[in-house]
């Protein structure tokens, strides 16, 4: 793998930029691998990379039914933060944040990680108290967090609605300065290229249709490109975990729901941070191209269609204008949907499964993108050693049976309310 550097750009300029290598090989499947990772999204590719990088397991294939970056890794709103309240989540997402901070260097690929800060507005004294609770827990865990009062918020984001007629007046905000965004496609490409550099086969347009068994043990997969044997199989197909899980014989506490995201026409720089609305579900950042990238609630009913409904477009637009009246006449350029694994407690599932040889990584709800590096790191550890990494000890599948749910959203067991 040729290293990318300023010098390599200069050298390739001498030959008209015509001699760049492919970022990763177009691999065809071998008869068998030590580990097969199903799903060539951010999590699957990161898992393959860390299997090779941290555990020396290089005879690995990543099977992707479409193309790299075509699923949820390319459909999210790219927000990265580690402002979680509950033990288990707090430490995991902060570990992820630290990996983000070194990612471009580790992968030799510019993922354009921009720590522009994220704030969530508070609209009552009680809500600000709740945010102070969260900020204190973050600080006790060594994570940066600040509580802002109304004037601080006005100084930082003067374009929000501070008028006397605001339906939900802004009382303050919780702010994490290290939060930010990254170029999501670059994350997929960077992990793909780095994994490929370690010898991992990335096989696109290869859909897994069934599992191969030897007794109770899973020993490979049936795919649209034939049978492929495997010592271990890791499932990283969030959105469709139930579909493949059912083929393996897993019963899962997951529902698939559509979450929409939106981008407006490009504007001059306006939104310098990531801004989330504490009175409704709305969050916005501005891309380097100038488009406002934002999202809101789930569509609210089981769906595997990667497109959303217009009712949610209206709700999100209403929330947007309630918070930022100045964008009321900005035109929407595109909106799209991604299929989320929604768990009953809004926390992910990463663990070995009761089926020997099968490992599960799914249930990411809204929060998968920011978790990409830590998820891959911990899932690779789990596959390599057969035991959950300490950071994901709280993400076991059996937590629902034993009552140890991690209900960060506190919305009860109805997945569509998370």
């Amino acid at each position: 793998m040729a290293r990318y550097s300023a010098f390599s750009i200069f050298r390739n300029a001498l030959s008209g930029q015509k001699n760049w290598q492919r970022a990763w090989r177009a691999a065809e499947p071998k008869p068998s691998y030590d580990v097969i990772v199903i799903g060539g999204g951010g999590h699957g590719l990161a898992t393959a990379f860390y299997l090779a990088e941290n555990h020396g397991i290089r005879n690995v294939a990543v099977l992707e039914k479409g193309y790299i970056g075509g699923g949820n890794v390319g459909r999210n709103t790219t927000v990265i933060r580690s402002n979680y309240l509950l033990d288990g989540n707090t430490q995991f997402y902060e570990f992820s944040m630290k990996l983000w901070e070194g990612m471009s260097r580790a992968l030799n690929f510019n993922v354009m990680f921009s720590q522009r800060g994220q704030l969530v507005t508070a609209h009552s004294a009680d809500q600000l108290d709740g945010f102070s609770h969260r900020a204190n827990i973050m600080r006790l865990n060594g994570i940066d967090a600040d509580i802002l009062d109304r004037e601080d918020v006005r100084h930082l984001v003067p374009y929000l609605d501070f008028s006397d007629t605001a339906r939900f007046p802004i009382h303050g905000a919780i702010f994490q300065g290290r939060a930010g965004t990254a170029r999501h496609d670059a994350v997929a490409w960077g992990y793909a290229r780095a994994a490929d550099g370690h010898g991992v086969d990335i096989i696109q347009n290869c859909e897994v249709t069934d599992f191969l068994r030897d007794g109770d043990r899973i020993v490979g997969v049936e795919t649209t490109k034939g049978r492929i044997g495997a010592g271990k199989v890791g499932l990283a197909v969030a959105g469709h975990t139930s579909v493949l899980g059912a083929k393996a014989g897993l019963e899962l506490p997951i529902e698939s729901h559509v979450l929409q995201a939106f981008v407006t026409e490009p504007l001059k720089p306006l939104v310098d941070q990531v801004v989330a609305y504490g009175a409704d579900h709305f969050y916005v950042s501005q891309s380097d191209k100038g488009g406002l990238v934002f999202g809101g609630n789930l569509d609210g009913y089981n769906s595997y269609a990667q497109r959303g409904n217009l009712g949610v477009v209206r709700e999100v637009a209403e929330a947007a204008i309630a918070l930022m009246p100045c964008i009321s006449r900005v035109r929407l350029l595109r909106h799209w949907g991604g299929v989320m694994d929604m768990t009953p407690d809004a926390s992910p599932i990463i663990c070995p499964t009761p089926i020997e040889g099968l490992y599960l990584n799914g249930g990411w709800c809204y929060g998968g993108f920011k978790a990409t590096p830590a998820s891959g790191w911990c899932f690779a550890h789990t596959i390599a050693t057969g035991k959950p990494h300490p950071l994901i000890a709280a993400y076991g599948l059996d937590r629902f049976r034993t009552g140890h749910t991690l209900d960060e959203a506190g919305a009860g067991p109805s997945a569509w309310l998370q």
């Binding site: 899962l252 529902e255 009913y301 089981n302 595997y304 269609a305 629902f400 569509w416």
Partner: protein, 98 residues
């Protein structure tokens, strides 16, 4: 847009309805002491990519609970029935029907 043919009110926009989740899940008998049955009732879902039996309540219309069969891949609705007429939730079973 997704529209639901309400048996009382006719074809209406889904915004008038509130989603109630998987209708194939049966509540265990009230005195069922088996925690596994309650675990399955509360958490386990088949979550099919295909035909899904689900509850919707017509909250801004007749307020009836409906059982709708909808394809989760394209939202095509195969049937709509009143929940009180359907067998859903009527017979306590240890395991939900497949």
């Amino acid at each position: 847009m997704l529209r639901i043919e309400c048996p009382c009110c006719g074809l209406r926009d889904h915004d008038e309805f509130r989603y109630g989740g998987d209708a194939s899940v049966a509540r265990p008998a009230h005195d069922d002491p088996d925690p596994e049955a309650w675990y399955r009732y509360v958490y386990i879902r088949t979550n099919p990519a295909g035909l899904h039996r689900e509850f919707w309540q017509h909250v801004t219309g007749c307020r009836q609970w409906l059982v709708v069969e909808r394809d989760t891949r394209n939202h095509a609705i195969a049937s709509v029935d009143l929940a009180r007429k359907s067998s859903a939730r009527k017979s306590p079973a240890r395991n939900p029907p497949a």
